[in-house]
Structures are given as structure tokens and as C-alpha cells.
Point group: C2
Chain length 321, copies 2
């Protein structure tokens, strides 16, 4: 039996080994990816993001437990993305330990991802790992990001359904939401909703969404067969599981909306196009590099160092050759 066959039949060790190959982008990883890809395309991917301190990991734990309780047979995967910033590296340790509890459940597969590699590298490998888990039959797949920078937001955006988690008392919450949130959130969650300020936070989010929704309605008339999804704002207390069942209900609703409105296929297409572009860019660059003479490159850098050419002029000259 090939390793792909054993992976498809549920061998978690073989799967873990293959994911490492895929992450490292080895020839074996590429082959595995090519083979597994043909089996993927079924799983619902759920992104979870939000500022540190909002209780994201606790909420993720509660979600997975309750999802497991509801769909007893279903296998769930969790991808925890940690861009290993030198600053947040340590802070995540606690979360990862908590995650290990989940991993004790045989129906849950947990994968931590981290890379300090090239730009775009983490998004690319997260997508590849997600696809492999999808091929094996994990569904849903939850992708948690630490939610600090643009990269993590991009990764969250790869999901079918993106939850943005907030909590009261993390600073100037309303300001923090001014940019970008409306575009990425399918569902907003006010966690720690028993704490002071939770109600105001919820109201502020509701008001902001209403405004954004009104703008959207002005800009483009929604088509009859794709009613606009207005991101709901839910309240949870992840620590004792309050509101988590309702959240699962809304996630399921969003999935249904995605399928019925054609948005599922549209997002899939956008996601695949971005993936292909990413691979394409890298491949084109590698091919060019292979064709470049090291001497020409060295000459160009010399000219730039001596301020005889600007970097743009140097590149132009290299391209002409």
C-alpha cells in the first residue's frame, strides 16, 4: 500500500509525515499534494482570528468539543497558525498546551504551523496543509491565527467562514475595528461577554456593521439569487461554553448560505486562483533565476552599490538581456 493510500484510509502518522513534507515543499510533498488534491474540495473551512487576549483559543476548544458532541462520527481538524514572531513566540505556549487536550480525542487532528520563511510562504503552506486534511475527510477544518498582522488576516480570509473574535477591555475596541474587519468577518463574536463593557462593544459592532451594510447596499444592488449576508454579532463566554451552540448554528447557517448563493464556489475559485498565482510567481522567478548569468547579476549589484544605477534601472537592464 502506498503512503497516499494509507493516508486516505486514516493513518494519522503517515498523514503527519506527509504534512511535514508538504510544509517543507519537498519533491515527496509535491507528489503527495498532487495525489491528495484530487480527493479534496469537500470540507468546510472556518477561520478564527482576533486580537490576543480575546480568548480565541479557548473559544476554538469549546467549538471543537461541542461540534464533536453534535456530529459524533465527524472528524475535525485544527490548524493553529503561529507566524513565530520573536515577540509573540512565548505567549502562545499556553495555547498550544491547551490544544494538546484536543489532540487526545482521536476524532480531532491538530496541526501547528509555523514558518519564518519567505513572504507568502505561510499562506501557501497553510493552504496546502488544509487541502491535504480536506482530502483525508476532515470536516470542518478550523484555522486559528494569532491575528496580529496582515499575513494572518490573509490566512483567515482563505477560509469559507471567518469568525472575528473580540472581547471587552482590550483597549479602544471601536477604533480597532475601523479598518478591514467588515471585509473579512462573516461572523463577529464578543467573547467574555460577562465582563464589563461587553454590551457597549456589541452595540458598537452592531452599529458599525449596519453602517457598512447600508454603504454596501448603496454601492451595488444585491442580485436576487445571492442575498447579502449580514455578519451577525454573537456573544459567548467560551470558558463555560455559553453561546457556543448558537455560534455553531450560525456557522452552519453561513455554510448553507454559501452553498445556496453560489458564494461557496466563488470563494473556492478566488482561493485557488490566489494559490495558483502564488505557485506560478515562485516558479517563474526560479526559472528566471536559473537563466540569469551570475556575472550579470553581480555587475548590476556593483553598479547599484556605486550609485551609477538605481535599483529600478539595474533591473530594467537585466530584463533586457
Amino acid at each position: 500500500m502506498t503512503s497516499i493510500q494509507s493516508i486516505l484510509q486514516g493513518d494519522q502518522r503517515a498523514l503527519a509525515r506527509m504534512l511535514t513534507e508538504i510544509e517543507n515543499d519537498t519533491p515527496t510533498g509535491r507528489q503527495g499534494l498532487d495525489a491528495l488534491y484530487l480527493h479534496a474540495g469537500k470540507a468546510h473551512t472556518i477561520g478564527i482570528t482576533g486580537p490576543s487576549g480575546c480568548g480565541k483559543s479557548t473559544l476554538l476548544n469549546a467549538l471543537v468539543r461541542q461540534m464533536r458532541a453534535i456530529h459524533a462520527g465527524g472528524q475535525i481538524a485544527v490548524i493553529a497558525v503561529d507566524p513565530t514572531s520573536p515577540f509573540t513566540g512565548g505567549a502562545l505556549l499556553g495555547d498550544r498546551v491547551r490544544m494538546r487536550d484536543l489532540a487526545l480525542d482521536e476524532g480531532v487532528f491538530v496541526r501547528s504551523m509555523a514558518t519564518r520563511g519567505a513572504l507568502g510562504g505561510l499562506a501557501r503552506s497553510t493552504q496546502a496543509v488544509c487541502m491535504a486534511l480536506d482530502a483525508v475527510g476532515y470536516d470542518p477544518i478550523l484555522i486559528e491565527t494569532v491575528g496580529a498582522g496582515q499575513d494572518e488576516v490573509e490566512i483567515a480570509r482563505l477560509a469559507h467562514t471567518t469568525l472575528v473574535v473580540e472581547a471587552p477591555g482590550l483597549g479602544d475596541e471601536v477604533q480597532a475595528f475601523k479598518a478591514g474587519i467588515l471585509e473579512i468577518a462573516d461572523v463577529l463574536v464578543v467573547n467574555k461577554s460577562d465582563q464589563p463593557g461587553a454590551e457597549q462593544l456589541k452595540q458598537a459592532l452592531d452599529a458599525m456593521l449596519e453602517m457598512g451594510y447600508a454603504l454596501q447596499m448603496n454601492e451595488a444592488q444585491p442580485k436576487p439569487n445571492s442575498p447579502v449576508w449580514v455578519p451577525p454579532v454573537l456573544s459567548t463566554i467560551a470558558l463555560d461554553g455559553k453561546g457556543v451552540l448558537e455560534l455553531i448554528g450560525v456557522i452552519d447557517e453561513h455554510k448553507m448560505w454559501l452553498k445556496q448563493s453560489g458564494e461557496w464556489e466563488r470563494r473556492e475559485r478566488v482561493r485557488l486562483m490566489a494559490w495558483i498565482e502564488n505557485i506560478f510567481r515562485e516558479a517563474v522567478w526560479q526559472r528566471w533565476q536559473g537563466e540569469q548569468s551570475a556575472y550579470d547579476m553581480e555587475q548590476a549589484i556593483e553598479q547599484v552599490m556605486k550609485r551609477k544605477l538605481s535599483p529600478y534601472q539595474a533591473v530594467e537592464r537585466l530584463l533586457k538581456k
Copy 2:
């Protein structure tokens, strides 16, 4: 008089306009960059990074004020990089307001940079803006990043001298330093050094550096003409300016070390090579995109959507054409 001439003669408005063109990568910006580049290459660039809450911006303010007091004639530039994460967006407002005080000093030029654009875009435009300020004669140029993700660390690394700022009471500091810090820090600063835990933090950092230094010494014997720079750990209280003068002294020492050891030129070369590669990649990709038939691309995506080809296989096929 052309706009480049007025910029070189100190017209700050013309400079600000040109920086916007450069940031937006317009044809005017490219031309300006080509012209200004030939005048650049003198300024000492100083990166300042660290976790939020460490008092980075206050320290930067104190640094600039004291530098201005010491070198009365010198013109200083500050680039404040804000990757506009939807989560930290609001938190930075306070800093930016404080920054405006600096901008009242005519000898200080402050530029805020933000982009939500493509990967690599922020590093590329920060470098371009830094070069333009260098050409005009600003020296030193301080680059502040919010220090959350990998991108910001990359930007800090573009500088000749990188300060990593920490403060007690921000969580598990020692853990937070485990990865990456030794590689990017030229100078470590324990800010808020009057607060509880500052001494332990300093000791932990010293111990860690000593260990890292010992490892480094084992790995490679330093060449006689380039003695290894051991990053010192300084204590400051930025709020009342304590330790800031010493910090400036160490920054100057580091600059001298860079020049004498040949490291200045080496870093310049690495920086320019990365810049050229960045421009090159983008140019190569755009050229390829121009040559691709939209039909072939569409076909490839269709095949991938239908799971008949994996993304890698699709790219391979496109490259063969």
C-alpha cells in the same frame, strides 16, 4: 527648477509629495527614485522594534529630541511603519499624535507609512522612502515598526542598527525572546527600567546573549579585522529621558564598528540585493502575466476547480506553453 532640485534643496512639501508618488509606485515616483538614488548612501538608518506596550514611541521621541540637542544642525527623519492591521489600527493613534509634536521641529521630518497592499509591498516602499530621505540629507533616519509580525521584523532588519526594546511586566519576557531576537538586535533596551522586574529582565537578556555569543564563537572564529559585535543591554526610562544619552552613545559606537569592520558595506549590499530581487521578481511576474493568454489561464483554473489537475500540475502546464 525641477521638483527633484527643489527636493534636494530642502523643500519639504515637494519631498512629501514625491514620497507619496514613490509609495504609490507611480511613473513620477519611479523617476524621482531613479534621480534621488544617485544622491543617497550616506545616512545611518536605525530600526526600532519591540512588543506593544514597551514604550517604543516614547523612547523614539526622547532619542530624537536628544539627538537634535547634540547635533544642532543635523536633520533627522522618522519613518513610522504601521502595517494597518485591523486589530492594532486603533492602538497606534496615540503614538501618532505624540509623533506630531516631533513634526513641529523643523529639523525633524516625520513620515507615517501604511499599506494594506501585496506581500513585500511595505518592505519595498519603506526602503524606497528611506532612500529618498537619505538623498535629501536626513541623517540619521529612524524607522519605527509596531513589531508584531514577521514583516515588521524584516523592515527593522533593513536598518544599519537595530534596537530591540523590551519592558518588564509584558508577560513571559524570557520566553518571548527565545527566537530570532539575537539575530536582529544590535542593541537591546530594557525600557521602563524603574518598574518591578526590570533587573531580572536585564539579567535574563544578558545571560541569553552570553549563551548566544558563546555559540557564535564556537561556530566561526571571528576575523581579526571584524571583531564580533556583542549586543549590549541598556536600561532606559524614556518618559523622563534617563539612559537615553548613553543609548545614543552606544548607537554611535555601533555605527563606528559598522564602518571599521566592513559590516556597513556588507549590510548595504545585502539590503540592495534584497531590494533588487524584490523589484526583479515583480517585474518578471508582470512581464509573464502580460505574455500569458487569458484563455490558457482560465482553462487552467477550470481544470483545477474540477479537480482534474492539482495547482502545481496546472502551473507546470502553463509554464510549458
